[in-house]
Symmetry: C2
Subunit: 325 residues, 2 copies
């Protein structure tokens, strides 16, 4: 590992900072000229070893997950990513091989998602490794999609599949013989490397009355969207999209429903779409190659959202969403 912070930045992060405004990471700050007519959408999310990723996860996926959890927030707000800054807290155990893997992973995702690295800070810690990313994106002025805004009658959609990440984390901690190696790898991959639904941003701006990133579990995040909008909701378990491996685990062990619906690490988008725009939403996300499934609807009232089982009962959960506290 290089001896000083400047050397470390020059070797591992300067090559990624290709935007002219990053000034080669050799200034106190970076500069960005916002295009006229756009708002900036600002978000920050941190991931910590042992909490949001496992200490022996590959360095490249640690970097990519740190960026992608932020890109997922931007996408849910209808924003196009523009740039990011990063703080990494490194324990002494981190070596040059790890740093190179981390840098390579970050570089690949910054390029793939058009999210330029504008700067950062590198600190030493005797605690766990952590990566905090601040990301900013652009939306036409006044067009950010909010959590507030859902109306009774809106259809509720979720992208992709739900529960994979939470099951992947369980499998990393305790391998299950009940699942094929391919299924196991699929779920672990979904935990380590979220797929931010960046292609849905434009369609969300055009069609959604409210939307959010599902990161702490579908049930709890739906409750947050409803609370922000002053409404309630009703979703059906039978309609919730699950991957084949998740469904296979659930068939063998019905208690897996709880982590699937409340475990978090989905990084899918939950959106409330007025009925008149539902087809436009379906068409828009499909054109972007993103699956989206209607799982229920917004209803009036301020009760907790109802999660209806196939037998018609309303389910309740010990805790509605994952909390890191």
């Amino acid at each position: 590992m290089p001896s000083g912070e400047d050397d470390l930045i020059a070797r591992y992060f300067k090559p990624i900072a290709v935007h002219s405004g990053a000034l080669g990471l050799a200034d106190d700050a970076a500069v960005f000229t916002p295009p006229p007519g756009y708002d900036l959408v600002l978000t920050t999310d941190a991931i910590v070893a042992g909490v949001h990723f496992l200490p022996d996860d590959p360095a490249a996926t640690v970097a990519r997950k740190a960026l992608r959890v932020n890109l997922s927030d931007l996408a849910a707000k209808g924003a196009q990513a523009a740039g990011c800054l990063m703080t990494v807290a490194l324990p002494a155990s981190v070596d040059a091989v790890w740093l190179q893997g981390f840098s390579d992973g970050l570089s690949a995702d910054c390029a793939d998602f058009g999210c330029a690295l504008f700067g950062g800070d590198t600190v030493h810690t005797d605690g766990p490794l952590s990566v905090s990313i601040f990301a900013f994106g652009l939306v036409p002025q006044g067009k950010m999609v909010r959590r507030a805004g859902a109306q009774a009658g809106d259809r509720l959609f979720v992208t992709g599949t739900v529960g994979d990440g939470a099951l992947g984390l369980r499998l990393l901690r305790e391998l299950s013989a009940a699942l094929s190696p391919a299924g196991t790898q699929y779920l672990i991959g979904r935990y380590r490397l979220p797929q931010p639904r960046v292609g849905a941003a434009e369609t969300l701006r055009a069609t959604a009355s409210a939307a959010m990133d599902v990161s702490d579990g579908l049930v709890g995040d739906l409750a947050k969207l409803c609370a922000a909008s002053g409404v309630s909701a009703r979703i059906e378990v039978a309609r919730i999209p699950m991957s084949d491996p998740a469904r296979e685990l659930l068939c063998r062990d019905p208690s897996m429903l709880e982590p699937i619906l409340t475990g978090g690490d989905d990084y899918e988008i939950l959106a409330a779409i007025p009925p008149a725009r539902a087809q436009a939403f379906r068409d828009g996300v499909a054109a972007a190659g993103i699956a989206a499934t209607e799982i229920g609807e917004i209803v009036a009232g301020d009760a907790a959202p109802q999660v209806i089982a196939p037998d018609g009962r309303a389910l309740s959960f010990a805790r509605a969403s994952f909390s890191h506290f």
Copy 2:
């Protein structure tokens, strides 16, 4: 301490997030409409317990220092602060009293410096407490003051006094009987609570060919400014501004010169000013109530900057700047 992250944010941080674009910290992201004709200046700096502050420093000064080290960067770039986002990593030992003090300190400084809190993330750590702040400011388009740009003949100025923070940290670790209680408290205060020179921003834009925030020691940071500008420099120890307590410590122990010049934690501004604009610079900062002292000049070449002692010798230092690695 509240049981969940949402409760914690609602209790301690939502009251600070008064800007409408922060959406009460109840959305995935915040929104900021940049004023036309301005560039955004982006910076991030993290502080870690045991490295950048002491674990028993008052919670309020920890919060304020975390913000101020970023405000210092913005000021040095000629930018006016606009907003910030924060990630705090909290160990289990943090209690409600600490959080309230932290929140009060952050609130006071956000208000005093016009730097709105737009969002953040709160994570749990079994390592040291850390605070990472991302701050953004505004400059008229194309007017950010860079490290690159200094020319031979430019006069070198530094604001405030140099070395106080590094001496304050020494006194916190090992109290010196050689200094009065008032002097000791002054230096400790300078370590705990930097004074970002935000009033100098406009004058820097109008007069500086290059500038930077002195955070890692005057000698090392001057070398960075020179390297970025492709020049060298010559400064005189006798002209370097020091506070009375710093000078008193130096009189009793000449070896204190090294921490004063290389120890860091100054958060003053080093600026290269063309001779024709030197008087305008002096007048501008004086009008803002900020002391600035001419300490030397930029010279041609790529040699390391020379630090000239009162007897005419060029000094050398074991290490030119503080490194946290």
